[in-house]
Protein backbone atom coordinates (compact mmCIF):
# COMPACT_ATOMS: atom_id res chain seq x y z
CA UNK A 1 0.00 0.00 0.00
CA UNK A 2 2.67 2.49 1.02
CA UNK A 3 4.68 1.48 -2.02
CA UNK A 4 1.72 2.02 -4.30
CA UNK A 5 1.08 5.46 -2.82
CA UNK A 6 4.73 6.36 -3.28
CA UNK A 7 4.51 5.39 -6.95
CA UNK A 8 1.35 7.47 -7.40
CA UNK A 9 3.12 10.43 -5.81
CA UNK A 10 6.26 10.02 -7.90
CA UNK A 11 4.21 9.71 -11.06
CA UNK A 12 1.97 12.72 -10.41
CA UNK A 13 4.83 14.95 -9.31
CA UNK A 14 7.68 14.14 -11.69
CA UNK A 15 7.01 11.53 -14.36
CA UNK A 16 3.61 12.81 -15.45
CA UNK A 17 4.01 16.32 -14.10
CA UNK A 18 0.67 18.07 -14.33
CA UNK A 19 1.86 21.12 -16.21
CA UNK A 20 4.90 19.87 -18.07
CA UNK A 21 3.61 16.51 -19.27
CA UNK A 22 -0.18 16.67 -19.02
CA UNK A 23 -0.74 20.34 -19.85
CA UNK A 24 -3.08 20.90 -16.91
CA UNK A 25 -2.87 24.38 -15.41
CA UNK A 26 -0.79 25.91 -18.18
CA UNK A 27 -2.56 29.31 -17.99
CA UNK A 28 -1.55 30.11 -14.39
CA UNK A 29 1.80 28.40 -15.00
CA UNK A 30 2.63 30.94 -17.68
CA UNK A 31 0.53 33.79 -16.33
CA UNK A 32 1.64 33.97 -12.71
CA UNK A 33 5.27 32.90 -12.96
CA UNK A 34 6.86 36.23 -13.72
CA UNK A 35 7.75 36.83 -10.07
CA UNK A 36 8.98 34.18 -7.66
CA UNK A 37 6.77 35.45 -4.84
CA UNK A 38 3.57 35.17 -6.83
CA UNK A 39 4.64 31.76 -8.12
CA UNK A 40 5.06 30.53 -4.55
CA UNK A 41 1.74 32.09 -3.48
CA UNK A 42 -0.08 30.50 -6.38
CA UNK A 43 1.50 27.13 -5.67
CA UNK A 44 0.27 27.12 -2.08
CA UNK A 45 -3.20 28.26 -3.09
CA UNK A 46 -3.35 25.42 -5.62
CA UNK A 47 -2.04 22.91 -3.10
CA UNK A 48 -4.78 23.86 -0.68
CA UNK A 49 -7.71 24.03 -3.09
CA UNK A 50 -6.65 20.96 -5.05
CA UNK A 51 -6.39 18.79 -1.96
CA UNK A 52 -9.75 19.84 -0.54
CA UNK A 53 -11.48 19.82 -3.93
CA UNK A 54 -10.31 16.34 -4.85
CA UNK A 55 -11.49 14.92 -1.53
CA UNK A 56 -14.89 16.62 -1.79
CA UNK A 57 -15.45 15.65 -5.42
CA UNK A 58 -14.38 12.09 -4.58
CA UNK A 59 -17.09 12.00 -1.91
CA UNK A 60 -19.65 13.50 -4.29
CA UNK A 61 -18.80 10.91 -6.92
CA UNK A 62 -18.97 7.97 -4.51
CA UNK A 63 -21.96 9.07 -2.41
CA UNK A 64 -24.16 10.90 -4.89
CA UNK A 65 -23.36 10.52 -8.56
CA UNK A 66 -22.74 6.77 -8.70
CA UNK A 67 -25.55 5.60 -6.36
CA UNK A 68 -28.15 7.76 -8.09
CA UNK A 69 -26.92 7.07 -11.59
CA UNK A 70 -26.26 10.72 -12.26
CA UNK A 71 -22.83 10.42 -13.80
CA UNK A 72 -23.79 12.65 -16.68
CA UNK A 73 -23.91 15.49 -14.12
CA UNK A 74 -20.27 14.92 -13.17
CA UNK A 75 -18.67 17.86 -14.96
CA UNK A 76 -21.32 20.32 -13.78
CA UNK A 77 -21.31 19.22 -10.13
CA UNK A 78 -17.53 19.05 -9.95
CA UNK A 79 -17.06 22.55 -11.31
CA UNK A 80 -19.74 23.88 -8.98
CA UNK A 81 -18.11 22.21 -6.02
CA UNK A 82 -14.78 23.71 -6.99
CA UNK A 83 -16.22 27.18 -7.56
CA UNK A 84 -18.05 27.20 -4.24
CA UNK A 85 -15.02 25.81 -2.43
CA UNK A 86 -12.90 28.61 -3.77
CA UNK A 87 -15.50 31.14 -2.62
CA UNK A 88 -15.72 29.52 0.78
CA UNK A 89 -11.97 29.40 1.22
CA UNK A 90 -11.73 33.02 0.19
CA UNK A 91 -14.33 34.07 2.77
CA UNK A 92 -12.87 31.98 5.57
CA UNK A 93 -9.33 33.11 4.90
CA UNK A 94 -10.42 36.74 4.69
CA UNK A 95 -12.15 36.53 8.09
CA UNK A 96 -9.61 34.45 9.96
CA UNK A 97 -6.23 35.40 8.63
CA UNK A 98 -5.67 38.75 6.97
CA UNK A 99 -2.02 37.85 6.45
CA UNK A 100 -2.84 34.68 4.58
CA UNK A 101 -5.53 36.52 2.65
CA UNK A 102 -2.99 39.08 1.55
CA UNK A 103 -0.73 36.31 0.37
CA UNK A 104 -3.26 34.03 -1.31
CA UNK A 105 -6.30 36.24 -1.85
CA UNK A 106 -5.57 37.45 -5.34
CA UNK A 107 -4.85 33.94 -6.58
CA UNK A 108 -8.03 32.34 -5.37
CA UNK A 109 -10.42 33.65 -8.06
CA UNK A 110 -8.00 32.46 -10.73
CA UNK A 111 -8.08 28.95 -9.39
CA UNK A 112 -11.66 28.21 -10.42
CA UNK A 113 -10.58 28.23 -14.03
CA UNK A 114 -7.34 26.37 -13.35
CA UNK A 115 -7.91 23.18 -15.26
CA UNK A 116 -5.50 21.32 -13.00
CA UNK A 117 -8.10 21.34 -10.22
CA UNK A 118 -10.93 19.95 -12.32
CA UNK A 119 -8.38 17.76 -14.07
CA UNK A 120 -7.30 16.08 -10.85
CA UNK A 121 -10.94 15.46 -9.86
CA UNK A 122 -11.74 13.89 -13.24
CA UNK A 123 -8.55 11.82 -13.35
CA UNK A 124 -9.35 10.40 -9.92
CA UNK A 125 -12.66 9.14 -11.29
CA UNK A 126 -11.02 7.82 -14.46
CA UNK A 127 -8.38 5.93 -12.47
CA UNK A 128 -10.93 4.74 -9.93
CA UNK A 129 -8.76 5.75 -6.97
CA UNK A 130 -9.67 5.05 -3.35
CA UNK A 131 -9.59 7.71 -0.67
CA UNK A 132 -5.93 7.55 0.32
CA UNK A 133 -4.85 7.29 -3.30
CA UNK A 134 -6.92 10.35 -4.13
CA UNK A 135 -5.38 12.33 -1.32
CA UNK A 136 -1.86 11.32 -2.31
CA UNK A 137 -2.52 12.02 -5.97
CA UNK A 138 -3.87 15.51 -5.26
CA UNK A 139 -1.06 16.52 -2.91
CA UNK A 140 1.63 15.18 -5.24
CA UNK A 141 0.05 16.72 -8.31
CA UNK A 142 -0.05 20.14 -6.72
CA UNK A 143 3.50 19.69 -5.44
CA UNK A 144 4.55 18.94 -9.02
CA UNK A 145 2.64 21.99 -10.20
CA UNK A 146 4.43 24.09 -7.58
CA UNK A 147 7.83 22.67 -8.51
CA UNK A 148 7.36 23.48 -12.20
CA UNK A 149 5.99 26.91 -11.31
CA UNK A 150 8.91 27.82 -9.02
CA UNK A 151 11.51 26.57 -11.50
CA UNK A 152 9.96 28.61 -14.30
CA UNK A 153 9.68 31.69 -12.09
CA UNK A 154 13.38 31.42 -11.22
CA UNK A 155 14.34 31.13 -14.88
CA UNK A 156 12.06 34.02 -15.86
CA UNK A 157 13.54 36.29 -13.23
CA UNK A 158 17.02 35.63 -14.56
CA UNK A 159 15.76 36.07 -18.15
CA UNK A 160 14.63 39.56 -17.21
CA UNK A 161 18.31 40.51 -17.30
CA UNK A 162 19.02 38.82 -20.63
CA UNK A 163 19.18 40.50 -24.02
CA UNK A 164 16.39 38.45 -25.58
CA UNK A 165 16.13 38.98 -29.36
CA UNK A 166 13.15 41.12 -30.41
CA UNK A 167 11.20 38.29 -32.02
CA UNK A 168 11.37 36.18 -28.89
CA UNK A 169 10.54 38.83 -26.33
CA UNK A 170 7.37 38.31 -24.33
CA UNK A 171 5.49 35.05 -24.50
CA UNK A 172 7.68 33.30 -27.07
CA UNK A 173 10.73 33.01 -24.83
CA UNK A 174 8.57 31.95 -21.88
CA UNK A 175 7.09 29.16 -23.97
CA UNK A 176 10.50 28.03 -25.21
CA UNK A 177 11.84 28.04 -21.64
CA UNK A 178 8.82 26.09 -20.43
CA UNK A 179 9.43 23.66 -23.30
CA UNK A 180 13.03 23.10 -22.27
CA UNK A 181 11.87 22.58 -18.68
CA UNK A 182 9.41 20.00 -19.95
CA UNK A 183 12.25 18.45 -21.96
CA UNK A 184 14.35 18.12 -18.81
CA UNK A 185 11.43 16.47 -17.02
CA UNK A 186 11.30 13.86 -19.79
CA UNK A 187 14.35 12.46 -18.04
CA UNK A 188 12.02 11.13 -15.36
CA UNK A 189 10.00 9.12 -17.87
CA UNK A 190 10.25 5.42 -17.27
CA UNK A 191 10.82 5.83 -13.51
CA UNK A 192 7.21 4.76 -13.09
CA UNK A 193 5.27 3.09 -15.87
CA UNK A 194 1.70 4.09 -16.41
Amino acid sequence: MAGELALIALSAMLVNNFVLARFLGVCPFLGVSRKMDSAIGMSFAVLFVMTVASVVTWLVQRLVLVPFNLEYLRTITFILVIASLVQLVEMVVQKTSPVLYQALGIFLPLITTNCAILGVALLVVQKDYGFLQTLTFAVAASAGFGLAMVLLAGLRESLALAAIPRAFQGNAIVLVTAGILSLAFMGFSGLVRG
Binding site: L161, I180, M186, L191
Partner: protein
Protein backbone atom coordinates in the same frame (compact mmCIF):
# COMPACT_ATOMS: atom_id res chain seq x y z
CA UNK B 1 38.19 29.01 -25.59
CA UNK B 2 41.42 27.82 -27.25
CA UNK B 3 42.35 26.13 -23.99
CA UNK B 4 39.06 24.26 -23.98
CA UNK B 5 39.68 23.03 -27.50
CA UNK B 6 43.16 21.94 -26.43
CA UNK B 7 41.64 20.15 -23.45
CA UNK B 8 39.29 18.26 -25.74
CA UNK B 9 42.16 17.19 -27.98
CA UNK B 10 43.00 13.87 -26.27
CA UNK B 11 39.38 12.69 -26.37
CA UNK B 12 39.02 13.86 -29.96
CA UNK B 13 42.18 12.06 -31.07
CA UNK B 14 41.15 8.84 -29.36
CA UNK B 15 37.76 9.12 -31.06
CA UNK B 16 39.32 9.71 -34.48
CA UNK B 17 41.70 6.79 -34.02
CA UNK B 18 38.87 4.45 -33.02
CA UNK B 19 36.22 5.49 -35.52
CA UNK B 20 38.23 6.85 -38.42
CA UNK B 21 36.65 8.89 -41.17
CA UNK B 22 33.17 8.60 -39.74
CA UNK B 23 34.28 10.36 -36.59
CA UNK B 24 36.01 13.12 -38.54
CA UNK B 25 32.87 13.74 -40.61
CA UNK B 26 30.70 13.96 -37.48
CA UNK B 27 33.10 16.43 -35.88
CA UNK B 28 33.31 18.62 -38.98
CA UNK B 29 29.54 18.61 -39.42
CA UNK B 30 28.83 19.50 -35.80
CA UNK B 31 31.45 22.22 -35.51
CA UNK B 32 30.58 23.64 -38.92
CA UNK B 33 26.87 23.40 -38.17
CA UNK B 34 27.19 25.24 -34.87
CA UNK B 35 29.31 28.01 -36.41
CA UNK B 36 26.88 28.29 -39.30
CA UNK B 37 23.76 28.42 -37.13
CA UNK B 38 25.32 31.06 -34.93
CA UNK B 39 26.44 33.24 -37.85
CA UNK B 40 23.16 33.01 -39.75
CA UNK B 41 21.04 33.40 -36.61
CA UNK B 42 22.88 36.48 -35.38
CA UNK B 43 22.72 37.99 -38.87
CA UNK B 44 18.97 37.39 -39.04
CA UNK B 45 18.38 38.99 -35.68
CA UNK B 46 20.52 41.95 -36.54
CA UNK B 47 23.08 41.22 -33.84
CA UNK B 48 26.85 41.37 -33.95
CA UNK B 49 28.21 38.11 -35.33
CA UNK B 50 30.40 36.60 -32.63
CA UNK B 51 31.42 33.31 -34.24
CA UNK B 52 35.07 34.10 -33.73
CA UNK B 53 34.81 33.95 -29.93
CA UNK B 54 35.10 30.18 -30.28
CA UNK B 55 32.23 29.26 -28.01
CA UNK B 56 30.13 27.89 -30.86
CA UNK B 57 33.08 25.77 -31.96
CA UNK B 58 33.40 24.38 -28.44
CA UNK B 59 29.67 23.58 -28.37
CA UNK B 60 30.01 21.89 -31.76
CA UNK B 61 32.96 19.77 -30.68
CA UNK B 62 31.27 18.78 -27.40
CA UNK B 63 28.14 17.84 -29.34
CA UNK B 64 30.14 15.75 -31.79
CA UNK B 65 31.96 13.95 -29.00
CA UNK B 66 28.66 13.02 -27.37
CA UNK B 67 27.04 11.61 -30.52
CA UNK B 68 27.22 8.00 -31.73
CA UNK B 69 30.38 7.70 -33.85
CA UNK B 70 28.48 7.09 -37.07
CA UNK B 71 25.73 9.66 -36.57
CA UNK B 72 23.92 10.65 -39.78
CA UNK B 73 24.52 14.14 -41.16
CA UNK B 74 21.03 15.36 -40.27
CA UNK B 75 21.48 14.29 -36.67
CA UNK B 76 24.48 16.63 -36.50
CA UNK B 77 22.53 19.40 -38.23
CA UNK B 78 19.52 19.17 -35.92
CA UNK B 79 21.85 18.98 -32.94
CA UNK B 80 23.56 22.19 -34.03
CA UNK B 81 20.20 23.91 -34.56
CA UNK B 82 18.90 22.81 -31.18
CA UNK B 83 22.09 23.61 -29.29
CA UNK B 84 22.97 27.01 -30.76
CA UNK B 85 19.51 28.09 -31.88
CA UNK B 86 17.29 26.94 -29.06
CA UNK B 87 19.97 26.80 -26.40
CA UNK B 88 21.76 30.08 -26.99
CA UNK B 89 20.51 32.50 -29.65
CA UNK B 90 16.91 32.77 -28.47
CA UNK B 91 18.16 33.79 -25.03
CA UNK B 92 20.34 36.54 -26.43
CA UNK B 93 23.60 34.68 -26.94
CA UNK B 94 26.56 33.68 -24.80
CA UNK B 95 26.24 34.62 -21.14
CA UNK B 96 22.46 34.70 -21.08
CA UNK B 97 21.65 31.08 -21.83
CA UNK B 98 20.22 29.28 -18.78
CA UNK B 99 20.90 25.83 -20.25
CA UNK B 100 24.18 24.41 -21.52
CA UNK B 101 23.81 24.34 -25.34
CA UNK B 102 25.63 21.04 -25.89
CA UNK B 103 23.58 19.31 -23.19
CA UNK B 104 20.35 20.70 -24.59
CA UNK B 105 21.26 19.53 -28.09
CA UNK B 106 22.02 16.04 -26.83
CA UNK B 107 18.76 15.79 -24.87
CA UNK B 108 16.70 17.02 -27.84
CA UNK B 109 18.32 14.35 -30.01
CA UNK B 110 17.94 11.64 -27.34
CA UNK B 111 14.20 12.08 -27.01
CA UNK B 112 13.59 12.76 -30.70
CA UNK B 113 15.64 10.02 -32.30
CA UNK B 114 16.08 7.25 -29.73
CA UNK B 115 16.91 4.65 -32.38
CA UNK B 116 19.65 6.64 -34.13
CA UNK B 117 21.04 7.89 -30.82
CA UNK B 118 21.57 4.37 -29.52
CA UNK B 119 23.07 2.70 -32.58
CA UNK B 120 26.70 2.31 -31.72
CA UNK B 121 29.64 0.50 -33.32
CA UNK B 122 32.63 -1.15 -31.75
CA UNK B 123 35.82 0.90 -31.67
CA UNK B 124 38.67 -0.46 -33.81
CA UNK B 125 41.85 1.10 -35.24
CA UNK B 126 40.75 3.76 -37.76
CA UNK B 127 37.22 2.39 -37.53
CA UNK B 128 37.95 -0.37 -40.06
CA UNK B 129 36.44 -3.40 -38.32
CA UNK B 130 33.45 -1.74 -36.73
CA UNK B 131 30.35 -3.83 -36.04
CA UNK B 132 27.07 -2.77 -34.52
CA UNK B 133 26.91 -3.08 -30.77
CA UNK B 134 25.41 -1.58 -27.62
CA UNK B 135 27.05 0.44 -24.86
CA UNK B 136 27.39 -0.96 -21.33
CA UNK B 137 24.76 1.50 -20.07
CA UNK B 138 22.32 0.41 -22.76
CA UNK B 139 22.98 -3.24 -21.94
CA UNK B 140 22.36 -2.55 -18.27
CA UNK B 141 19.10 -0.77 -18.95
CA UNK B 142 17.99 -3.48 -21.36
CA UNK B 143 18.67 -6.20 -18.78
CA UNK B 144 16.89 -4.27 -16.03
CA UNK B 145 13.76 -3.73 -18.11
CA UNK B 146 13.63 -7.43 -18.97
CA UNK B 147 14.10 -8.33 -15.31
CA UNK B 148 17.41 -10.06 -15.94
CA UNK B 149 19.39 -8.25 -13.26
CA UNK B 150 22.67 -6.93 -14.59
CA UNK B 151 22.81 -8.99 -17.78
CA UNK B 152 25.85 -8.63 -20.02
CA UNK B 153 26.70 -5.29 -18.44
CA UNK B 154 28.12 -7.26 -15.50
CA UNK B 155 31.00 -8.36 -17.73
CA UNK B 156 32.04 -4.84 -18.70
CA UNK B 157 35.79 -4.52 -18.85
CA UNK B 158 36.22 -1.55 -16.51
CA UNK B 159 39.90 -1.10 -17.27
CA UNK B 160 39.15 -0.92 -20.99
CA UNK B 161 36.38 1.53 -20.25
CA UNK B 162 38.84 3.71 -18.40
CA UNK B 163 41.66 3.50 -20.91
CA UNK B 164 39.54 3.38 -24.04
CA UNK B 165 38.11 0.57 -26.10
CA UNK B 166 34.51 0.07 -25.04
CA UNK B 167 31.64 1.07 -27.32
CA UNK B 168 30.28 4.52 -26.70
CA UNK B 169 29.87 7.99 -28.11
CA UNK B 170 32.62 9.42 -30.28
CA UNK B 171 34.49 11.08 -27.41
CA UNK B 172 33.39 8.92 -24.54
CA UNK B 173 35.15 5.62 -25.15
CA UNK B 174 38.13 6.59 -23.05
CA UNK B 175 37.46 8.10 -19.64
CA UNK B 176 41.20 8.67 -19.26
CA UNK B 177 41.48 10.91 -22.33
CA UNK B 178 38.61 13.07 -21.13
CA UNK B 179 40.00 13.16 -17.61
CA UNK B 180 43.37 14.42 -18.91
CA UNK B 181 41.61 17.27 -20.66
CA UNK B 182 39.61 18.03 -17.55
CA UNK B 183 42.72 18.14 -15.39
CA UNK B 184 44.33 20.48 -17.91
CA UNK B 185 41.37 22.85 -17.58
CA UNK B 186 41.61 22.68 -13.80
CA UNK B 187 45.34 23.37 -13.94
CA UNK B 188 44.77 26.36 -16.20
CA UNK B 189 42.10 27.63 -13.83
CA UNK B 190 39.24 27.60 -16.34
CA UNK B 191 36.94 25.44 -14.25
CA UNK B 192 36.32 25.00 -10.54
CA UNK B 193 37.13 21.66 -9.03
CA UNK B 194 33.98 21.64 -6.89
CA UNK B 195 31.56 20.75 -9.70
CA UNK B 196 33.31 17.70 -11.20
CA UNK B 197 34.47 16.44 -7.81
CA UNK B 198 31.06 16.97 -6.21
CA UNK B 199 29.25 15.38 -9.10
CA UNK B 200 31.47 12.33 -9.61
CA UNK B 201 31.83 11.95 -5.82
CA UNK B 202 28.05 11.87 -5.35
CA UNK B 203 27.67 9.39 -8.19
CA UNK B 204 30.32 7.14 -6.62
CA UNK B 205 28.87 7.43 -3.14
CA UNK B 206 25.24 6.75 -4.05
CA UNK B 207 25.95 3.95 -6.51
CA UNK B 208 28.46 2.56 -3.99
CA UNK B 209 25.82 2.35 -1.28
CA UNK B 210 23.47 0.38 -3.50
CA UNK B 211 26.27 -1.85 -4.78
CA UNK B 212 27.48 -2.58 -1.23
CA UNK B 213 23.93 -3.41 -0.23
CA UNK B 214 23.15 -5.68 -3.19
CA UNK B 215 26.02 -6.32 -5.64
CA UNK B 216 23.90 -8.78 -7.62
CA UNK B 217 21.57 -6.04 -8.83
CA UNK B 218 23.69 -2.91 -8.86
CA UNK B 219 26.91 -2.09 -10.66
CA UNK B 220 29.96 -0.91 -8.69
CA UNK B 221 30.71 2.84 -8.53
CA UNK B 222 33.68 2.50 -10.86
CA UNK B 223 31.31 1.35 -13.60
CA UNK B 224 29.23 4.50 -13.28
CA UNK B 225 32.28 6.74 -13.35
CA UNK B 226 33.88 5.34 -16.49
CA UNK B 227 30.86 4.66 -18.68
CA UNK B 228 28.67 6.94 -20.74
CA UNK B 229 29.16 10.66 -20.56
CA UNK B 230 30.20 10.77 -16.90
CA UNK B 231 33.62 12.33 -17.37
CA UNK B 232 32.80 14.47 -20.40
CA UNK B 233 29.70 15.96 -18.81
CA UNK B 234 31.22 16.41 -15.35
CA UNK B 235 34.33 18.24 -16.59
CA UNK B 236 33.18 20.04 -19.71
CA UNK B 237 29.44 20.71 -19.51
CA UNK B 238 28.36 20.84 -15.86
CA UNK B 239 31.25 23.22 -15.22
CA UNK B 240 29.93 25.79 -17.71
CA UNK B 241 30.24 29.09 -15.77
CA UNK B 242 27.15 30.55 -17.39
CA UNK B 243 24.84 27.73 -16.46
CA UNK B 244 26.14 26.81 -13.01
CA UNK B 245 25.69 28.67 -9.70
CA UNK B 246 27.77 31.68 -8.71
CA UNK B 247 29.05 30.66 -5.29
CA UNK B 248 30.96 27.61 -4.13
CA UNK B 249 28.11 26.63 -1.82
CA UNK B 250 25.69 26.87 -4.72
CA UNK B 251 27.96 24.87 -6.99
CA UNK B 252 28.26 22.08 -4.44
CA UNK B 253 24.46 21.84 -4.20
CA UNK B 254 24.32 21.86 -7.99
CA UNK B 255 26.97 19.16 -8.32
CA UNK B 256 25.39 16.90 -5.71
CA UNK B 257 22.02 17.31 -7.44
CA UNK B 258 23.52 16.39 -10.81
CA UNK B 259 25.19 13.30 -9.39
CA UNK B 260 22.13 12.14 -7.50
CA UNK B 261 19.75 12.58 -10.42
CA UNK B 262 22.19 10.82 -12.75
CA UNK B 263 22.28 7.72 -10.59
CA UNK B 264 18.51 7.73 -9.99
CA UNK B 265 17.72 7.97 -13.71
CA UNK B 266 20.44 5.47 -14.67
CA UNK B 267 19.17 2.93 -12.15
CA UNK B 268 15.41 3.29 -12.58
CA UNK B 269 14.68 5.63 -15.46
CA UNK B 270 13.88 5.20 -19.13
CA UNK B 271 16.98 6.86 -20.55
CA UNK B 272 20.36 5.16 -20.20
CA UNK B 273 22.19 8.41 -20.97
CA UNK B 274 20.84 9.87 -17.73
CA UNK B 275 23.60 12.35 -17.04
CA UNK B 276 22.49 14.87 -19.68
CA UNK B 277 18.97 14.98 -18.27
CA UNK B 278 20.38 15.39 -14.77
CA UNK B 279 22.47 18.41 -15.76
CA UNK B 280 19.62 19.96 -17.76
CA UNK B 281 17.33 19.63 -14.73
CA UNK B 282 19.91 21.18 -12.44
CA UNK B 283 20.54 23.98 -14.98
CA UNK B 284 16.87 24.82 -14.56
CA UNK B 285 17.32 25.01 -10.81
CA UNK B 286 20.37 27.30 -10.92
CA UNK B 287 18.41 30.58 -10.54
CA UNK B 288 16.76 29.20 -7.41
CA UNK B 289 20.05 27.90 -6.02
CA UNK B 290 21.61 31.30 -6.68
CA UNK B 291 18.68 33.01 -5.03
CA UNK B 292 19.29 31.22 -1.77
CA UNK B 293 23.07 31.03 -1.79
CA UNK B 294 24.31 34.23 -3.38
CA UNK B 295 23.76 37.89 -2.63
CA UNK B 296 21.66 39.21 -5.46
CA UNK B 297 23.33 41.94 -7.42
CA UNK B 298 21.15 43.49 -10.04
CA UNK B 299 22.90 44.54 -13.17
CA UNK B 300 25.98 42.49 -12.43
CA UNK B 301 25.81 39.65 -14.89
CA UNK B 302 28.14 36.75 -15.27
CA UNK B 303 29.60 36.39 -18.71
CA UNK B 304 32.01 34.16 -20.51
CA UNK B 305 32.82 30.68 -19.41
CA UNK B 306 32.81 27.64 -21.61
Amino acid sequence: MVDVLVALLPATLVGLYQFGWYGLVVILLCVGGCLGVEAVGQKMMGQKVTVSDGSAAVTGLLLALSLPPRAEWWLCAIGALAGIGLGKLVFGGLGYNPFNPAILARVVLLISFPAQMTSFVTPSPWGLDAVTTATPLNLLQEARIRGLGLGEAAHTDLLAAFLGGIPGSLGETSALAVLLGGLYLLWRGHINWDVPVGMLGTMALVSGLFWWHDPAHYMPPAFHLVTGGAMLVAFFMATDMVTSPLTRKGRVIFAVGCGLLTIVIRMWGGYAEAISFAVLLMNAAVPIIDRYTAPRLYGARKRGGL
